[in-house]
Amino acid sequence: MNRRDALKLTLAAASASLAAGTRVPAQSPELLKFLCPPDGVSPDLVTRPSPPSRPFVAPLNVMPVKQPAPNLDPPPDPKAHQRYQEFLPKKFYEIHETEFRWVYHPDAPYNVGSWSWGFDNITPGPTYHARYGEPILVRRYNTLPKVGQSKVTFALPRTTTHLHNGHTASESDGYPMDFIQAGEYWDHHYCNFPSGFDDREKLTTLWYHDHMMDFTAANVYAGLNGFYLLFDENDTGDENDPSPKAWRLPSGKYDVPLILHDVLFDSYGQVSFNPFNTDGILGDKFTVNRIIQPFFQVEPRKYRFRILNGGPSRFYQLYLSTGQPFVVISGDGNILPKPVVAESIYLSVAQRTDVILDFSKYQPGDQIILQNRLEQTNGRGPSGRMLDPGDGIMRFDVVPPTGLDNSQIPDHFRPLPPMPEDLSKFKHRVWTFDYLGGLWTINGQTFGDGTRVDAEIEQGTGEVWILRNNGKNWSHPIHSHFTEFLLHEVNGRVVTPETIQSTEGRRHYEYESADVPIKVFMGGQRRDIATLLPNDEIKVFMRWDDFLGKYVMHCHNVVHEDHAMMIRWDIVPKKQAGNSVSSRPARTRASAAGKRSNHSRRERSSQFKNSRKARRDPGSSERA
C-alpha cells in the first residue's frame, strides 16, 4: 500500500461513516503511519527549522527616540488618573500599534519582509527618554487590523501595554484585562517619580510590552515591545555633563538598547508561532532589536549597552568571544551600588542589565562576537549544559574613532533601599509555583479572569514574600508589577546589598568582592525578576506606596503566564483604628521631603530626597 492508497482508503471510510453513521474498521497502525505526522513531538525548531541566513551581514537596528506631541485632542480626563493634578504631565505622546512587514535579514526569504506588529510601524517600538520629575502621558492607539484582516494571524489585536518596572498607577499599568480593541485608544499616565519619593528607589532601564490576557506571548512575539529609559540628575544621559552630580556614563549614540528575541520562521520567512505549546517556545534565529544576528560598528571607546532578554521563553548566558569581561552597572533596571566586573551575564526572560564595554584596546578591523553559551532545548528552562563556543548573537566591528571619549565609570553609584532589620514583624506570604492539568499554577490556582484578589496589601506597608519553585524540571522567572523585589535569602543564604547573585552548576552562590571578575552576573539584591531555577526558594521584601488598585505577579516565561501562572494583588487603603478606611495616599511628594503637603508645586517639584528616616521603619503590618 502506498501513501496515496492509504489516504484514499481512510478518507473514504471516514466520509462514509460520517454520512451514514455506521462504524468503520478501527484505524490500523499501517494507516496511521501514512496519515500521521512523525511520531512524537520534536521541538518545532528541529522539525521545521527557519530558512538559513548569513550571520553578521545586517546592521544593528537602533530604535529612534520617541518625540512628544504638542498636545492631545481630546485632552486626557484628569478624573481617570490617580494623583493627576499632583503629577501634571509635562509631555504628551501619541503612539500607534500597527501592522507592517519587517525585514529581519537581507537574505531570502526574509528580504520580502515578515508580517509583524509594532509601534509606529517599527519593532521594537521607539525608545522613550523620560526623566524623573517629569510626568508624561502616553496615548496609545490600537490601529491594528481586526481578526481575519490581519496578516499576523497568531496574535490577538486586543492590546494592553505594561511599562515593565514602572512605578505606575493601576489604571495605567496595563492590567491584562484592561485591553482595547482595534479602533480604540488608552491613556497611560507615567508619573516618573521613585517609590515613596526615595531616590534609592530610582530605576534606569525599563521596557514596555503587551500584556493581553491569554495572548501576551503571541502579541510580544509579533513585535509589541520597546524601551523606556529613565534619566535623572546623576544618570543625565550626557557624558559631557559638567555637573558634579553627573555620572557621565556613555551617552547618545554610545548608549544603545538591545532586545534579544529568539524567533522561528517558516519557509516563507514569516514568523512561526505554536499556540499549542504549554512549556514555552524557542526560536532558532537569534535577533537583536529584531534583526537576525546583526553587526554593529563601534569606535575604540566606552559604550553603554542596555541588554534585555525579550523572551518569550529562552534564557541566555552571554560572553564576549575575546574573553573580555562586562562592567555591569545595573540589574533589571536597578543601578548597583558600585560597578561589578563579570565574565558572563545570565538573563532569564525579561531580565535586563546595563553594561559598559570598553573597546579602546582594540584596533579598527577587530571583531568581537557576543555569544550565548547557555543550552536550552525546550521551553521549560536551560538544560544546565553549556555550549562551546555558543551561538553568535551579534558582532561588534571596531572602526576608527570619531572623537574623544569623555565618558566615565564612577566607582560608586547610589545605595539600595535598606532591608528592615527585623522582618518578623512584617506580614509573610508564600507563593508556590507548580503545574497541574496542563496549567501552570501559583498556590494551586490559576489566574482565572483577573477578578479574584489573591492578596490585599495595605498601602504604605511592606511584606515578606517567599517564592518557591515546586518544580524539579523547570524554571520560572517571576515578575511582580509596580514595586521591586529586595532579595533577603536565596535558598536559605542571606543576600546583602553587596551580594551579586550568580549561578554555577545551577547552584546559587554569593560574591562579595568586585575587585576580581565574577564568573556569572545574575542580578543584584534589588530587581524585578526573581529567577526560580528548579527547586529554588527566594525570600524577598517588598514595599507598596503611592497608589491603589489592581496589579499582577506572574511568570515571565510568557507562555507560562498565558497558561495562567499569574495572581492578582491589590493595594488597598491602609486600615485605621476602629476599622475606618482611609483612601488618602500614604505619602505625598512634599511629605516625603519633610514638607507640608500644601506647599506650592514649585517647591514640590524639587528633586526627590532620600527618605532614609521614613525608610528605616516602613509601615509594617503585623505578621499574620
Partner: protein
Amino acid sequence: MNLVGGVAISPLRSGLLLEPMQDPKLAGDCARPLNGPYAHLIPNVVVRSHDDRNALFYNDLIRGKTVMINCISTTNEQSLRGCANLARVQDALGNRLGRDVFIYSITIDPEHDTPRVLKTFAEKHRAKPGWMFLTGEQSVIELLRSRLFNQGGHNATHDHNQIEDCSLALVRYGNEAVGLWGSVPATNDPTSIAKRLSWIESAKTPAPSIRRAGPAPLSAQPGIRT
C-alpha cells in the same frame, strides 16, 4: 531597488519598514498553507464521537471552524468539574453551538471511554448538538494529546502522573479559519470562556474610527477612590 507589493524597497537593508501589501496575490505568497494555518500541527487522524460516528479530526472538525477543545476522562474528578463548567459554557453560547462554534472533549482513556460510555457521559452533562465527545485508537489519542496539550511530549517530566498532564484543566479555543488560538482554564467563569470566542471571531467590518476606551473615571474603578 526592487518592487515588492508595489512598494520600493532595498533588499540589502534589514529592519526596513515595508508598507502593507495591497496585492492579494502577493499577500498569498507569504500566507498559510491551503490546508489551514495549523494543519501541520493538528493531526488529521480518525476519531469517533459519542454518537458513534467517525471523523477526520482536522479536516472534518477543525479546518475553517471556531472550536473549543479539552481533554476528559469520565472517571476523573478534575475532568468532571471541567465538563460541568463546559455545560454552562454551552448554555452561554446559545444557538451558536453547533452552528458556528463547536466543543470537542477528547477522552484520554479510550479503553474505558467507548462511544457508549461517552454517550452516557454526554447525556449526564446535557450536551447539546455541537458538543462532541471523542475517542479513538490509543495511538491516535496520544498523538492528539501530545500535539494539542503536551508539546514536546514531556508527560513524565512534570513530576506528576500522566492523567494530570493531559490538560484536564485546560481548554484550547481557536478560530482555525484564521489560525488564532488561545487557552483558558476549564474552570473559569463560563461566561468569560464563552466571551473569549468573540475575541477570536473574524471581523466582518474594518475597525471603526478611533475612540477613547480607557481608563475609566476613577469613580468607576473598584478599589480606587479619589
